[in-house]
């Protein structure tokens, strides 16, 4: 009677055995393909966060089910990870014995010739050359055709096309390198987002990102580089049709000591790279400079970052918020900016600033700044409307009922950078190149084996037997074999000048 441990052991062995079969690897490969499809059909937290939230609002039950199944983060879910982990284990268990066999094969002596006559391709001719000389010639001819040649009594064994197996091994092992590159890059890298208004300087440090940057498991805060960029100017260019043409930020690089270190341009497709950190042009928007005064006291004089709900629809006004907690009671302003009111009021896209105009609504009460909140919105639970609101253009001043004055002194733009460090990209690139490098011989070369036997015949001649086969591309080998056999059995002197016929003297 089998004990429980024995049963477990047996089933483990059978699982391991099935993992080692190519069929299992193939099925796992297809399972990974099917699994990854889900991530493109269900919105993913990493790519389309708003769509996920919308699903929770519109279809709460469905969203709950998706969440339980991990469908909002397919590529980080336990079941997807399990699938590709199993695939990689299965792959490794196929590759290890293959690699071993391949290495053994490298040092192995060629197989002795047996039953040449029965091989797929076989020719026999008699040539008037001594056997040793015939074999010498054969060795030269085969080497010239880039066969590996080894002596096998009584003749030669030749082989070609080992690149097929070595290429295949290289390709498959490189897939593991892809995993190494991804894990290393994520572990020691980070991703963050930075919003910088024209004229301001941003420093690459943990605290200066819009939100805390997403840092890898092995990334320490001290690994931030400390260089800075001062945004001199941002420019969004549009085609006459209103389609975007180019977004560019002109920046001055500031080194770790605070000294300017040259002018750079950051554009879409042209990131700035400094100390292994890359800055990508991500977004932009308007930042009106608002000076707020109360009884000749300057409460604020800062550019305020305005946002838009959809960056692709420039017909909508930009929205911004000013919070004035130093007043008693607190005052908050909601502002709408029309960079180009003439175009905007008729529903056209506002591509550039032309007589920019601000509308505002004022609120009074408790801003509740003791709670965490967005800088882009007012928490209105403790606020009441304050005055009728109104509008004012660039260079003008609005006055609230309590005497607070808001001056619209300047309209600047801000630029948004995706800031990223990924030390794994080099490994990924190497892995990708190795993959390709292995793929080509693995798919296109074919293994071929040839044997040449020289048997002494009468009158110092040789009976030359040539035999061989190909494991792939057999039709092409047919021609190759015919050509090789023809060359080997050609009478000396027919193709090249024979030694004896050389003119003497």
């Amino acid at each position: 009677m089998a004990s429980t441990s024995e049963t477990i052991y047996r089933s483990l062995v059978s699982v391991w055995r099935s993992l080692r079969s190519m069929r299992t690897a193939l099925i796992l490969l297809l399972v990974v393909a099917v699994a990854s499809v889900f991530g493109s059909l269900v919105p993913q937290l990493g790519v389309a966060r708003p769509a996920v939230f919308r699903l929770y609002v519109d279809h709460p039950l469905r969203a709950r089910i998706y969440e339980t199944l991990g469908l909002f983060d397919v590529y980080g879910s336990w079941w997807f990870t399990t699938c590709y982990a199993l695939l990689l284990i299965s792959l490794a268990s196929c590759l290890i014995p293959r690699t071993r066999a391949f290495r053994r094969g490298l040092g192995l002596r060629p197989q002795p010739m047996r039953g040449l006559e029965g091989m797929r391709h076989f020719t026999e001719t008699t040539i008037p050359v001594a056997p040793e000389r015939a074999l010498d010639r054969a060795r030269g001819i085969l080497r010239r055709r880039r066969f590996r040649v080894a002596p096998v009594e009584p003749g030669l064994a030749a082989e070609k096309g080992r690149a097929r197996e070595s290429g295949s091994l290289l390709f498959h092992w490189s897939l593991f390198l892809v995993l190494v590159g991804a894990v290393y890059g994520k572990g020691f890298g980070f991703t963050g987002q930075a919003t910088v208004v024209e004229g301001e300087t941003w420093t690459e440090a943990h605290a200066s990102y819009d939100l805390p940057p997403d840092e890898g498991r092995f990334f320490a805060e001290s690994m931030h580089q400390g260089f800075g960029v001062r945004v001199e100017d941002f420019d969004a260019a549009y085609h006459p049709s209103g389609l975007p043409e180019d977004f560019r930020s002109r920046v001055t690089l500031i080194d770790g000591d605070g000294m300017p270190a040259g002018q750079r341009v950051i554009r879409v497709n042209e990131p700035l790279e400094q100390d292994g950190v890359k800055l990508y042009q991500l977004g932009y928007g308007w930042a009106p400079v608002l000076e707020v005064r109360f009884e000749d006291r300057l409460l604020a004089a800062e550019p305020v970052v305005f946002t838009t709900r959809s960056p692709n629809d420039l017909t909508a006004p930009w929205r911004g918020v000013v919070k004035l907690p130093s007043l008693e009671p607190d005052v908050g302003l909601e502002l709408r900016l029309f960079p180009d009111p003439v175009a905007g009021l008729v529903g056209g896209p506002m591509l550039e600033a032309r007589d920019p105009f601000l509308f505002y609504d004022a609120w009074r009460g408790d801003l509740r700044l003791d709670r965490a909140q967005s800088v882009f919105a007012l928490d209105k639970t403790g606020l009441q409307p304050f005055g009728p609101g109104g509008g004012f253009g660039l260079g003008e001043t609005a006055r609230l009922p309590n005497g607070v004055e808001i001056a619209f002194t300047e309209l600047r733009e801000y630029t948004q950078f995706l800031v990223k460090r990924d030390p794994g990209t080099g490994i990924m690139l190497a892995a990708a190149l190795l993959t390709l490098l292995g793929l080509l011989p693995a798919l296109y070369s074919s293994r071929r084996r040839l044997w040449v036997r020289a048997i002494p015949a009468d009158r110092s001649g040789t009976r030359l037997q040539v035999a061989g086969f190909a494991m792939q591309r057999r039709a092409a080998f047919e021609d190759e074999f015919r050509s090789i056999a023809g060359e080997l059995s050609r009478r000396e002197g027919a193709g090249e000048p024979a030694a004896g016929s050389e003119p003497v003297g």
């Binding site: 297809l30 499809v37 493109s40 389309a48 991804a182 554009r267 879409v268 793929l439």
Partner: protein, 317 residues
Amino acid sequence: MSPEGLTGASNVAFGVALVMYLAASVGYFHHLAFRRRGVLVVARGTAYAGAVVHAVSLIARGAAAERVPWGNLFEYVTVVGFLIVAAYLVVERLWHAEAVGGFALGAAVAALGGATIAYVPPGPLVPALNSYWLWIHVVMATLASALFTLGFVFSVLYLVQERREERLAARRASVPAREPALVAAGAADRPEDYVSAEEPEESGAPVHPSSRSRLPAAATLDRYAYRTIVFAFPIWTLAVILGAIWAEEAWGRYWGWDAKEVWSFVTWVVFAGYLHARATVGWRGRRAAVLAVIGFAALVFNLTVVNTAIAGLHSYA
């Protein structure tokens, strides 16, 4: 010529090419059915001429937009259609595969006809596409797509032909004395050759298992499909790698599981599965061909549904 003039010329040439492909396709089918040598010559000539006219259309469009003519969905599919014809003409030369010409040209007609749904006049590129990577990444992707399409055509024909050969073999088994010639020549009586290699046997002329079948034998079609796909696979791999390099340049990450990336990956995996299936006992032949069909379906899904219905970074292409 003005941009408007070039656009007009490009569109006219596009229409002419489409009609010529259609005519060539009909010609190839006629040849398949009735074996008229003259019709074949005319069909082939029409296909070549159509490709030239199509090339003119592409060049004019590029000139009108002042950029490479593969910057949006319409242009992408148009280029794929062009490359299907070009690849088929090469294949015809190499393998004398005239019998499948009607299907290949038909695929090109479908591509061009489908592209017109997504027609937009030539215009500038969105900033994210404005990169030299557009050249090479898209060329590789379109070329691989065209070859996968041919592989799909061969695989479907293989499935049809294989089924027919099987039926014939069954009938032969039940009536052994009636058709001795077919028994000697059929592919079914050499199964050991067929399963012994990744690439099926090709020595021995492909023999039609039925005098009524004008298509190549199933084994031949299988070989065509394999060769096309094995050629396309590294190109697709390269296209995906180049896309990753470009994504790193443009979006700050080489891989982000964007819908387009997911489906490119799925396509890659399915065709990788196809290549492995042929080396796996029990998966050769029919199952492998089905995988090729699924791979093509993933490719088409990536171009149609992913571009139009799923929002993503690739939404413009």
